[in-house]
Amino acid sequence: MAEDRITDIGPPHYEQFLPPVIKANYGKWKYHEIPQPGVLKHVGESGDELYTVRCGAGRLLTTDYVREVCDIADKFCDGHVRWTSRNNIEFLTPKKENVEPLIAAIKAQGWPVGGTGHSVTSIVHTQGWIHCHTPAIDASGVVKAVMDDLFEYFGEHKLPAQVRISLACCLNMCGAVHCSDIAILGIHRTPPKIFHDKLRHVCEIPTTIASCPTGAIRPHPDKNIKSVVVNAERCMYCGNCYTMCPAMPLFDPEKGGVALLIGGKVSNAKHPPMFSRLGVPYLPNNPPRWPETCQAIRKILLAYANGANKWERVGEWITRIGWSRFFDICEIPFTFQHIDDYKWAYDTYNTSMHFKF
């Protein structure tokens, strides 16, 4: 192997990628404004100005797409661009006169401008059927369908506060969505099927047993059958056994689907960070546009927009009105699935007379 092989250099230092106006004002920004949806104006102690135009994007894209981003950044931003923590693209320029032509160029590309302030910004999500081995649902397709449906909320500041939607295509949540205003979660609902004949040829039994986080897998009681059995009551459908053993698929095309978890946040403003809680336990897995999922999200979003006080996040609104009222307003029938019976369930039971009829 070549001796000039390079390893362990880590990422390149960010400084080489910063626009000059950022280098000059690094750590010395004074305030910001949002002059219109999708546009940020940062002003330094020096009086320097930086304009950011935020452009919505999916996280799945191609080199062709990225080159188009580069073309726009070359033309209006001296070659400077960044991505946000929510897959948005941000074009950066100190030139105010570039803002309008930049927006026009982005829109001419068919890309949306927005995602600032009290909007629904881009949905962070996982891989789904494009590249993962355990998903219950697709990711990019559901996100595209939901953002098409909520498009009017991306480019305007008309909600009581910002609304952060996230998607994870199975409960392993490689995109941890457990603190989102609205979390879209792909769910399997049946234990893995076991193909005993195949299993003894393609799986190692001890590693398969060890892969189960709840200890639900044990050796097959019939010693002549070199396979395993699953205790269905302990299985929570994570698919970790399938990762180790392809003879144990847990996919059920008809029973798998979508759950919505509601009311989480990470910011500390007013209330401390909150977990998302189970809102809708099941919606059908219905490609290519998942209409039931889109309708349910729209219904919850509109109920929130209609009922929340100024500045209230979804979870703060629900905390104020109570979950029973939330279910009421959103016409969500209450089910056993809503009542926690996992590890810290007691923390979620109501031990007071504070409830509503």
Binding site: L60, L92, G264
Partner: protein
């Protein structure tokens, strides 16, 4: 008739269409045509067609490449091997177009041209290449200054908000901290030796734009200790409606300082007499609400650093956790020695004691905060809890009796 009638329905609508984008690339790259074909099959059958697995990687690393194989290789030969590469992103996800074009050229040469900007952990994700191409692609990237990110039971690529590069609220240099910590732990990032994954995320203020509290084992969140800086004239301009709340990002044009700011302060530490805003800073929880509403009038103080929180992870296995406070305030000046030392101590204790696939936050719950704090050299602090215990099952150790013999008491009388 189209090969992908279901996916075609995602070409319409106002949000950017990944199907349109992939189709354009598919005209040049047969494996992307296969990718669309297999995805269409998943849409028809409502199941995935990827198999996990196989150990693939680049020389000397055990991390950063995820082996991926189609379970329909006969139908879609371009997907027989279609591995993922995680490329460690620069702090704050800033790029020049020259760097982006270079990344695109390399990925077009060695892979499918399909990517994520960015993956959940923060890396640039390259989706789809063959085993043979992994090492040459890695070395082509390394020649240009990019390295592979983390995966498996390793340190994952740390990530950060844009911090001081473009935010007036950042209480420390998130960009440099992220870069420096990533460099410090290169060995742990590339060579999995932990019980499970370990993530760092760096947010500059309690708004936590990178969701550090929910998505990082070690969450480093900026905070200030002194007084919120007030521009009294700007407060009046908000009261008068000349300045818009949230810089114009809200659904209303004018603030009611009493109702919108003072009454919603969680500690009730502010007052407004129609003329001047007063803050009892000692009682402030630094929640950011007032600052968020009036960015031209209020700013964090100048005695700044970070709070270190530990333990968050997604629901696997014990249920989702958020990180909790272990160090209320840490100075965050380069070279970040305090954080490096604490981080190394935490990883050492966890590696020694953690079970396979046990996150550090779960280990602490299993063994207790006392054992954790003693092992890594932290004192008990009230900021780390919401409430003290309500049960009488607290235990005493010989050290407690020794301390009492030396005069320790539990209330000053």
């Amino acid at each position: 008739m189209s090969d992908t009638p279901m996916l075609d329905q995602l070409e319409t609508g106002p949000w950017p269409s990944f199907v349109k984008d992939l189709k354009r690339t598919a005209a040049k790259k047969p494996q992307v045509k296969d990718l669309l074909g297999q995805l269409e099959r998943s849409y028809e059958e409502k199941i995935t067609h990827w198999k996990h697995g196989g150990i693939v990687g680049v020389l000397g690393y055990g991390s950063g490449i995820i082996g991926r194989y189609s379970d329909l290789p006969d139908d879609f030969p371009g997907l027989e091997h279609f591995h993922t590469m995680r490329i460690n992103q620069p702090s704050g996800w800033f790029y020049t177009t020259a760097a982006l074009r270079m990344l695109c050229d390399i990925w077009d040469q060695y892979g499918s041209g399909v990517m994520n900007m960015h993956g959940s952990t923060g890396d640039i994700i390259f989706l789809g290449t063959t085993t043979d191409n992994l090492e040459p692609c890695f070395q082509a990237l390394a020649q240009k200054g990019f390295d592979i990110g983390g995966s498996g039971s390793a340190m994952r690529s740390p990530s950060c908000c844009c911090g001081p590069s473009r935010c007036e609220w950042s209480c420390y240099d998130t960009m440099e901290a992220c870069y420096d910590i990533t460099q410090e732990f290169q060995f742990e990032l590339h060579r999995p030796g932990f019980p499970y994954k370990f993530k760092f995320k760096f947010s500059g203020c309690p708004n936590d734009c990178v969701a550090a509290v929910a998505r990082a084992d070690c969450s480093v969140i900026g905070v200030w200790k002194d007084d919120i800086r007030i521009d009294a004239a700007a407060v009046k301009a908000y009261a008068g409606g000349e300045l818009k709340p949230k810089g114009g990002g809200a659904h209303v044009d004018k603030l009611d300082i009493q109702k919108d700011v003072v009454d919603l302060c969680p500690t009730q530490c502010m007052s407004w007499d129609g003329n001047a805003l007063k803050i009892n800073n000692r009682e402030c929880n630094h929640c950011m609400h007032c600052i968020n509403l009036m960015p031209q009038a209020l700013r964090p103080g100048t005695e700044k650093g970070a709070t270190i929180l530990l333990g968050s992870h997604a629901p696997i296995l014990e249920g989702a956790q958020m990180s909790w406070v272990i160090v209320p305030f840490m100075e965050m000046e380069k070279p970040f020695d305090g954080l490096k030392e604490l981080g190394a101590n935490i990883m050492e204790w966890w590696t020694e004691n953690g079970k396979n696939r046990e996150r550090v936050g779960e280990l602490i719950l299993r063994l207790g905060m006392r054992e954790f704090c003693l092992a890594v050299g932290l004192d008990p602090v009230p900021q780390s809890i919401k409430t003290p215990r309500c049960n009488p099952f607290f235990f005493w150790h010989p050290e407690d009796f020794e301390a009492e013999a030396e005069g320790k008491t539990y209330i000053k009388l």
